[in-house]
Subunit: 676 residues, 2 copies
């Protein structure tokens, strides 16, 4: 049975290889475009090199701590295995990010070049570039876990022992994801805010203008934040979800046998296949809207995933109730996408409210956006609650002990079945964004600009939707992780009425708020350094403004890299160390209270950040389309304020919180020996 | 033993009577001043009349529901008693608010008049006006509960039965508090924002200018929001804390006898005496800083409260450990005051950060302020956690079963021992604010203005500190309330690992976010109506701007009243109905999860709202003192944006959340029969 996911993931990687060859064959555009491409490539490479160096050091230190912790409690052999799988998880996650970035940078320029002649071709390149990233991430996660399973199997462990040995892999993935998302998120918004503050506001030059010294850093930022960051986030989700579900599968071993343990891997494999088909059918005619094509692919993926779910569930679990639970999860993911759409698109009431509030000034714009963000937690919570309660109820109806919890795991699998396709749509965002930048900077034709603008606007939507999807899947995956933690820590009761547990919950909630404060402030601090450098360059060389001399892009990239990495250390360490301290000090049950309350608060605050940020962004875009005075009017100025406030909300703090709630789960699973 | 609190509270009310006579004898100033006074008085009366009418209707409906709920479960007699004590609690809370408002409005003008000649006299009037409010609130709460105790005692109930019968009183107080704080909070900020948006920004006339038609509504708002609202908030805290502690006292009846049940009432009585002494010693020389005098009184109150704690604890509980627990609570209240000071005064790093961020524009000001708000949750959580763990530990050391929980109750009493004094300082705020407005509008001398400015600035500080204190006490009182709820619902375990409990917790957290969204948006909606009316008046009568004709103040007051009351209904009903629905649907244990998670999130979000709001406010004031370009500069404009955003945060959403978390506790206690 285990051969199915292994074979599917290897086949998927071959498909990725085919896509890469296909993309590489596409035209690379004019020499001017290539010049910009090389600058972006250099910047991205430099950032990733340093970032992964920093992350590697932390991962090695943590692996040693992990080993030490188990060695002290007299289980050195187990500790060694968990530490090694931790490093393996970290490496797989890092590798997926690298591959995704590598192809993303190369797809940008080819999309830009194709936009000179054909909308349809440009869309296909951008989506296939995204697909390389999306499929690689899901396939690597699946292959990593299946491969580890094979190794442990060969070492003589029984199927019921193996899932607990995999937790290191999930923790490794979480750690890389946290730093990738945090570092990337700080980088991208610091560069964006820094470039805008001097360029747009002080110097009055348009976005993506080649005279702005921070423009390349800004383009690099789209890749490292949206592409590598979100990729690591969903790598973690799929890995954490697989491992959590397998641990719960062990509980049901008496009923399902090994099928219950391997089911998560098999169903993920079929989800990957469904996504590949979705990517192949998502094509557009020259006159189509880009979202039409992307939606077509999405619905094909959903339908195929549902069909696969039916056959795999009936074949392996022999109970249609679990198929329904899977449908609940799949349905919840679709609802998340629509809720995000409602709250962030200008067609609907929330963004309209912000647009209207912009006419009375900066403050009312901020108040309205914030109120929208707080409001949308209701839809999120209702969706999660219904999904959890309904799938739990379905599972309980099976009459199996722990059937309810297993069904919530199946629902999570349903939600993540379309992960590869959703990730492809997400990475489509930074690729089209960069393609637009390259077209703008290389002075291409008006028609090419129209095409990349259309693609870019669709990319903004898919980026926002993916955040909603990532948040929903983080919530369900986190629930699964602490269910698995209860198993491993042999806890049946998390008694919030005990003062230690309540206090731990309070501290967990505080971690979310305090971490967000650090993340938001980090953007401000890093941006301030970029503002300084951009101002310095404009002052030092008056030829810059006239366009007679070239700015020193590399210097800005370098400063952004340094300060983003510097700023990610403190929040990152806090997120890793605080749960360890609480777990050692107040013990396993209190730690469970900590992670559960932190998850609740994290999910809600991430919703506030993501959706208010998205809504502010689109309120500004709506005004820029010529409404309420259009660009440069008073309403527009107020809307720009909202958009700038929303930047670190939606691209740094919000996405980092998704990762954080999962990290808390995998960390406590991997270090459980320290807390009991 | 019960006679002690009754006699002390009656004596305190006599002292209030003395203060009222003393204040009434003070000079009422010029006819111009009296004209303004009458306008404020009329506006405040009109608002309170309508507000209390709305609240009465809701209270009567809820009393009927309460009775019906018990009647259905076959305990009509008990239901009748609880409903009657509910109405009694509502009436006592309403009455305290009325008395506080009545004297506050009358102290305003006398403070303004005294400021013509003497700083010392003006300060004393303002503080004594505040003291009338503070002492009345605490004394009425104490007298109400003690009186009910007497009645139930006379009806033949035993001391261990009575505390559970008092829960209706607490719920009644909570309900009035919620609507008083919500309605008052919406009123005050809608009027403030509405007056500023047209007056300061569109017409460029200063604050408190008599030409602004909304200026009286703004002055009325200070009274109904800060004075009546916070008064109801702390009335609820003291009532809820007394009742919760008495219920836990019942558990310890085998060890302490009736002393454990009556201890909360006795110690509260002595706290009241300590506050009265504090108020009498808080006097200033002509050259003193106002905060010097207020701090002197505060520390005298704290010291006397600590001494009283020692003797009462030793006399009634015969165990010094509980005295230490009381000191922990008293200490925590002092720390809360200092933490609030650190985060909201311009002397310290957080406000300085916001000031610096204002130089780069509106957006960076908002980001910095929000980061500060999120950050300060850390200090809040650490203080609450240490206070809970330390007092619990002390109580456990006594070896008594439930000794730990009783000690957390004693810590809460320690925290609230100084309530009357703190409330006096708080009401000092709106009195001096209004006095400043009267001085400004009546065209008084420059020296009088300097005095009221000095008092007003001290009042802003005390208002901010009281919010920190109210939040801390709300957190501890809420903890006490759900400990009492576990007793009444016969729950020993709140198992967050059960899916229903977890989902209920998720919904509880959502209530806090969604309620905040409604509260913030309510201000925006009400303010928009005022803006319309002010614009209409300026347009209809050009003589207004020239000062040749009088604006129609009453019309603005009327519109603000109507829209504030209208806007408070939805969030208020949501807060009352959602826990009832969750309790009936998912039952008692899940409801406990709901209120506990809601409390955690509510306390943290209230901290964010209160402190970011306070910090933005003071950042603006610091710039207005002539720094970074002073008034009218770019940094000032950005700081005004922050201040305006902070207004609904700190004066509507934040304080309403304090009340909400306590309401959840008293509501579930009063309706417990429905959920088990």
């Amino acid at each position: 049975m285990l051969f199915i996911p292994v074979i599917i993931s290897i086949l998927s990687l071959f498909f990725v290889w085919y896509l890469v060859i296909w993309i590489k064959k596409c035209d690379m555009g004019t020499p001017k475009m290539q010049e910009i491409f090389i600058a972006i490539k250099k910047g991205a490479d430099a950032f990733l090199k340093r970032q992964y160096k920093t992350i590697s050091i932390m991962a090695i230190i943590l692996a040693l701590i992990l080993f030490g912790a188990y060695a002290i409690s007299g289980r050195a052999a187990l500790g060694l295995q968990i530490s090694l799988s931790f490093l393996f998880g970290a490496i797989c996650s890092g590798l997926s990010g690298l591959i995704g970035m590598w192809i993303s940078v190369r797809s940008n320029i080819r999309t830009a070049s194709a936009a000179q002649s054909s909308f349809s071709k440009a869309l296909t390149i951008a989506l296939r570039g995204g697909a390389v990233s999306g499929i690689t991430i899901v396939a690597m996660s699946l292959l990593g876990i299946s491969g580890l399973y094979f190794i442990y199997d060969a070492l003589g462990y029984t199927p019921t022992q193996i899932p607990a040995l995999l937790v290191g892999f999930g923790f490794g993935a979480s750690l890389v994801a946290l730093f990738a998302q945090l570092g990337g998120g700080i980088y991208t918004k610091a560069a964006d805010v820094g470039a805008d503050l001097v360029g747009k506001i002080e110097k009055n030059i348009p976005e993506d203008d080649p005279r702005n010294p921070a423009v390349i850093a800004d383009l690099v930022g789209d890749n490292v934040g949206d592409c590598a960051g979100r990729g690591a986030d969903l790598f973690e989700s799929t890995a954490a979800e697989n491992i959590g579900a397998m641990i719960i599968g062990v509980v049901l071993f008496p009923y399902f046998g090994i099928n219950g343990i391997l089911f998560p891997l098999v169903i993920r494999g079929f989800g990957l296949l469904a996504s590949i088909v979705g990517i192949l059918v998502a094509k557009a005619k020259e006159t189509d809207e880009p979202l039409q094509a992307l939606n077509k692919g999405y619905f094909v993926t959903c339908a195929l995933a549902a069909i696969a779910f039916y056959f795999v569930t009936m074949g392996m679990l022999h109970n249609v109730l679990f198929f329904y639970a899977g449908l609940v999860g799949l349905g919840a993911s679709i609802i998340f996408v629509f809720v995000t759409q409602y709250y962030t698109e200008y067609k609907y009431r929330p963004v309209k409210e912000i647009v209207n509030a912009s006419t009375t000034g900066h403050a009312t714009n901020i108040i309205a956006g914030f109120a929208v963000g707080l409001e949308c937690t209701a839809a999120t919570v209702i969706t999660i609650s219904v999904a959890l309660l309904a799938s739990f109820k379905l599972g309980s109806m099976s009459g199996l002990p722990s059937g309810g919890i297993y069904a919530t795991a199946v629902a999570t699998m349903g939600m993540l079945a379309t992960a590869a396709y959703v990730l492809a749509m997400d990475t489509f965002g930074p690729i089209t964004d960069n393609a637009g930048g390259i077209v703008e900077m290389s002075g291409s034709s008006e028609s090419a600009r129209r095409i990349t603008d259309k693609l870019d606007s669709a990319g903004n939507t898919t980026k926002a939707l993916t955040k909603g999807y990532a948040m929903g899947s983080a919530a369900l995956a986190a629930f699964l992780l602490f269910s698995a933690y209860f198993e491993e820590a042999k806890l049946t009761v998390i008694n919030l009425a005990r003062v230690e547990v309540f206090v731990a919950g309070l501290i967990g909630a505080m971690l979310i708020f305090f971490f967000s404060s650090l993340a938001i402030r980090a953007v401000g601090k890093a941006a301030a350094k970029i503002v300084e450098e951009v101002r310095r360059q404009f002052k030092a060389d008056p030829g810059l403004m006239e366009g007679t001399s070239m700015p020193d892009y590399a210097k800005c990239v370098d400063i952004t890299t340094k300060s983003a990495l510097q700023q990610m250390i403190l929040p990152g360490l806090l997120a890793v160390l605080l749960p360890i301290i609480v777990g050692i000090w107040l013990r396993a049950e209190a730690l469970a209270g900590f992670i559960m309350v932190a998850t609740i608060v994290g999910v809600l605050l991430a919703t506030v950040f993501n959706n208010s940020g998205g809504a502010w962004d689109n309120a500004k875009k709506f005004i820029e389309m010529g409404n309420l005075g259009g660009k440069g009017g008073d309403a527009h100025k107020a809307a720009v304020t909202g958009d700038t406030v929303g930047d670190p909300f939606k691209d740094t703090a919000g996405p980092s919180l998704h990762v954080l709630v999962k990290l808390l789960g995998t960390l406590s699973l991997a270090l459980v020996a320290l807390f009991i």
